[in-house]
């Protein structure tokens, strides 16, 4: 039930969201609008392209026609003027005219001139001038200009300069007041000099009407201009414009003045568009313009435009109408789909669209109905799941309660254990504030310990915080620290702490658990031991110093012994010898023997002193260990003995390659003593034998020196290594009893031991380790 309720609420939320979005026109209107826009755009584009094409074509045609008309008019004007000029030239060379002129009776020609002007209708008048420009006669009788000078006229000056006929610039005739162009022809005398000038004034009115009388097209106007001196109109449909200046803004006029031909479209001073063709008149300083208003030339196209507009409107209207009907049909199932989906979204899963169409929208409807069916099925399943879940939750709740009871039991159990532990166990948060304590903790610090900071209980400056830093920043797991703390009875106690960081479920440190033991007594005991040790060490130092002093004393004593005891001995020996030498004759054999005794005893004492000194030296010697080849050393010592006693026959057996880490000097002394003994005590043997070798004993290497000499009684073994101890009589085997003591010293100095085995008359073996 609750799940269904949630779903409805979600759907409603979604609708709210949708409706709060920006408002738009209904789908139907949007689609109809689209169709109208498309139809309008298409119609306009097609119409525009069509009219524009025909308009351009027409315009081009009109321009070309105007140019052709201009060329025709130019040709016509050229022919017209050429013909008039020819007529004037012919008239000038008429014999009667020529004769009268040369006879200086031009006034007789007045009627002839009048007749000529009457025949040639293009002329307004004709006159004859002398070479100074003075008018002599005029076609019109009685004019006031006779006798006046026309020397300022360009036709007069040009003819006089070039001796050629010349067409003057258009101007108002002085004689008739009408617009004319003077055509001047020279009349030569028999010697070829200019005698007079005949002029004919060509009427611009006549010329203009001849040119404009042709039909150049509807509302088409023709204008001819003289291009000299900024231009002036010499022919136009409007005769009033003759001799006026053409519009300077007309680009066609500007082009003509620049002696160009062609056709262009331009806007005149009033702003209306004109199509104009223009060209120069061949052989004359003139140009022709044929001008048609643009709207006249393109009138057909404008009509076409209007018709196209009408058709477009009709098409758009029809499109809108049909489009609307079609769209309504098209959107109806979509609207139904929307309404149904809103109902489904609101939770009514029984709603279906049931569209019968067989197009994409129909498929969409089917898919929607299918989806709605699925939703309805899922809803049913969900409800059953919800029921199942509720049941499981209630079951789990029961289980949880049981687990809680179990946990509580466990917790109580742990509490009991923690309370029973004699060690103090405390928990602190990251600010070192105690958050929990076991019974031992409460007993030590007091019942109010929880909530207090650890430092509250510190006795004096403690480095505890510094020491436990790694526990709180996670760089160490457990830290041991000792610190002096105040017990609740005020006593200062030393606690040994083991601190360990506490982590929450995300692994973050939230405090530390510390266990402490009161080690005050132990510490005191340790300190006492330490103090005693210090006292002992001091005592040892004192003794050592005393020993050192004694040693030094002994050393200087030895030195004195060495020096001072030997000096008198040398004296005794020396003087005994002197006596023996000086008193040789006076002494008998016994007395000589006595003196010999004195000397031998003296020497024995000397040797004894030497051996004692050696023993003393060895006792104080510093070991300088190195790897020695003992076999080679033994061989060398025995070699020396063989040399010294060449009569002896001794078999020598040396185990080769025996090495040891030992002091070279000391070991040579030790081996020399042992081998000397072996040599000495085997002296009575016919087949003496001396061995040097090793054997393994208790995993230690044992060296031995063995002889087959007289040996000794093991009964006296403990006297063997004592100084001045002898087991043999001096007479038999001389010696001072210090050799083996010296050997033992040396072996002991190397950290080894020495012992011997012997039997009387069966030889002796000395063993030593190093």
């Amino acid at each position: 039930m609750s799940i269904n309720h949630n779903k409805r609420r979600t759907a409603r939320n979604w609708l709210t969201v949708f409706k709060s979005g920006p408002q738009r026109l209904p789908l139907v209107l949007q689609l109809v609008g689209l169709i109208i826009v498309v139809a309008l755009l298409t119609g306009s584009v097609v119409g525009y392209v069509l009219t524009n094409t025909s308009r351009n074509a027409l315009r081009q045609d009109a321009l070309e026609a105007n140019l052709a008309h201009a060329q025709l008019a130019a040709q016509f004007a050229s022919n017209y003027i050429t013909a008039v000029q020819a007529h004037i030239r012919v008239f000038a060379s008429r014999p009667d005219v020529h004769q009268a002129v040369l006879a200086n009776t031009p006034e007789k020609l007045q009627p002839t001139l009048a007749q000529f002007v009457e025949i040639q209708t293009a002329l307004t008048g004709s006159a004859i001038y002398d070479v100074k420009g003075i008018q002599l006669v005029h076609s019109t009788a009685g004019v006031t200009t006779i006798g006046q000078s026309f020397a300022d006229r360009d036709y007069y000056q040009q003819v006089m300069a070039t001796r050629q006929p010349y067409l003057g610039a258009p101007t108002l005739s002085r004689a008739t007041g009408s617009a004319t162009m003077a055509y001047a022809v020279p009349i030569f005398d028999d010697s070829g000099q200019i005698h007079s000038i005949l002029t004919g004034g060509i009427s611009l009115a006549a010329f203009s009407s001849a040119i404009t009388s042709v039909d150049y097209g509807k509302e088409t106007r023709i204008t001819m201009i003289d291009t000299r001196a900024g231009g002036s109109i010499i022919a136009d449909n409007n005769p009033e414009l003759l001799l006026t200046q053409p519009s300077a803004n007309n680009p066609a006029v500007q082009q003509l003045l620049a002696d160009k031909s062609g056709s262009i479209e331009f806007a005149d001073d009033a702003g209306s568009a004109k199509l104009v063709g223009f060209t120069a008149v061949p052989g004359f300083p003139w140009g022709v313009l044929v001008t048609t208003p643009q709207n006249v030339a393109l009138a057909t196209v404008n009509t076409l435009n209007q018709q196209a507009g009408l058709y477009t409107s009709v098409i758009v209207l029809c499109a809108a109408l049909f489009g609307a009907l079609w769209m309504i049909g098209l959107t109806r199932p979509i609207i139904r789909l929307r309404d149904t989906s809103l109902k489904v979204a609101a939770g009514d899963f029984s709603q279906r669209v049931r569209l019968k169409q067989r197009d994409e929208i129909g498929e969409l409807g089917l898919a929607f109905d299918h989806m709605a069916q699925e939703l309805s099925d899922k809803d049913t399943i969900l409800r059953s799941h919800a029921l199942d879940l509720e049941k499981r939750i209630s079951e789990r709740t029961v289980e949880l309660k049981e687990a809680q009871v179990h946990l509580q039991t466990l917790f109580n159990h742990q509490e009991t254990i923690l309370a029973a532990v004699p060690d103090i166990i405390m928990e602190v948060d990251n600010n070192k504030v105690y958050t929990w304590a076991n019974q031992a903790g409460l007993d030590f610090f007091g019942d109010d310990v929880v909530g207090r900071e650890a430092s509250y209980y510190f006795e004096g400056e403690q480095e505890t915080y510094q020491a436990v830093k790694p526990v709180f920043n996670g760089t160490a797991g457990t830290i041991y620290v000792e610190s002096w703390q105040r017990r609740k009875d005020g006593q200062k106690r030393l606690l040994a702490w083991y601190c360990r960081s506490l982590h929450d479920s995300e692994g973050k440190i939230f405090g530390a658990l510390s266990a402490a033991t009161d080690i005050t007594e132990r510490k005191l005991a340790e300190e006492e031991v330490h103090n005693m040790n210090t006292v002992l060490e001091e005592r040892v130092r004192g003794r050592t110093a005393a020993l050192q002093a004694a040693n030094n004393e002994l050393e200087s004593f030895s030195y004195s012994v060495s020096h001072d005891l030997r000096a008198p001995l040398r004296g005794i020996d020396g003087w005994s010898q002197a006596l023996m030498e000086e008193a040789d004759a006076k002494l008998n054999a016994t007395e000589k023997q006595y003196l010999k005794r004195v000397r031998s005893e003296t020497q024995r004492l000397g040797e004894l002193i030497e051996a004692l000194l050696q023993l003393a030296r060895i006792s104080r010697a510093q070991l300088n260990k190195q790897t020695l080849n003992l076999s080679v050393l033994t061989e060398k010592i025995l070699g020396g003995l063989k040399e010294k006693y060449p009569d002896r026959n001794v078999a020598i057996l040396i185990q080769p390659g025996l090495t040891a880490d030992a002091d070279a000097t000391l070991l040579e002394v030790a081996l020399t003593n042992l081998l000397d003994n072996a040599w000495k005590f085997s002296g009575t043997r016919e087949h003496a034998r001396i061995e040097f070798g090793t054997l393994e004993q208790d995993q230690k290497r044992v060296y031995y020196v063995r002889d087959n000499g007289v040996g000794f009684d093991m009964h006296y073994i403990d006297k063997l290594f004592g100084a001045f101890q002898r087991l043999h009589k001096t007479a038999e085997f001389p010696g001072h009893g210090i050799g083996l003591a010296t050997v033992q010293r040396i072996v002991h100095l190397h950290g080894g031991s020495i012992w011997a085995e012997a039997q009387v008359n069966s030889g002796a073996t000395f063993y030593f380790t190093l």
Binding site: Y559, S562, H563, D564, R566, A567, P568, L569, R570, G571, D573, G574, W575, S576, Q577, A578, R599, T602, Q603, G606, L613, R617
Partner: protein
């Protein structure tokens, strides 16, 4: 040929006489000059107030180590420190065979170290060898 003297520095009269006897037994004819302590040795070598220095340096100095006043090692040190005597042959002739003495003597520039043997015959032998070596075989340094 003139023989240079031998300077013996020795305090024990017995040893002085024994040395004299040993030298004569070895047929050494050089004069034996004897001084009985270190200070006297220094005086005779370098001169001091009353005592003038020897005009001619001895061929060799036989020097005991254990001497009254100034000991033998000190005498040796002064001989070697002095420009005039630094090349003078010095033979240590002493009863001591202590390693320390031997090393120190050689370090201070002794030319020889001989331990006086107890046996007089050996002593004579040693003096004989010594005389032979230092007075006959050895080419002495050029000393004034």
């Amino acid at each position: 040929m003139e023989h240079k003297a031998i300077l013996l520095v020795e305090d024990n009269p017995s040893d002085i006489d024994l040395t004299r006897r040993a030298l004569s037994k070895s047929h050494v004819v050089n004069e034996l000059q004897v001084v009985e302590d270190g200070q006297e040795a220094v005086n005779i070598l370098f001169g001091n107030g009353n005592t003038p220095a020897l005009k001619e340096l001895p061929a060799v100095v036989l020097l005991d180590l254990k001497l009254p006043r100034v000991d033998g090692l000190e005498v040796l040190r002064r001989i070697r420190a002095h420009e005039r005597t630094k090349l003078l042959p010095v033979v240590i002739l002493t009863s001591s065979k202590a390693e320390q003495d031997v090393i120190q003597s050689y370090q201070l520039g002794a030319n020889s170290y001989i331990q006086k043997p107890v046996d007089f015959n050996q002593f004579v032998e040693a003096i004989k060898n010594l005389g032979l070596y230092w007075l006959v075989l050895n080419e002495p340094p050029p000393l004034k």
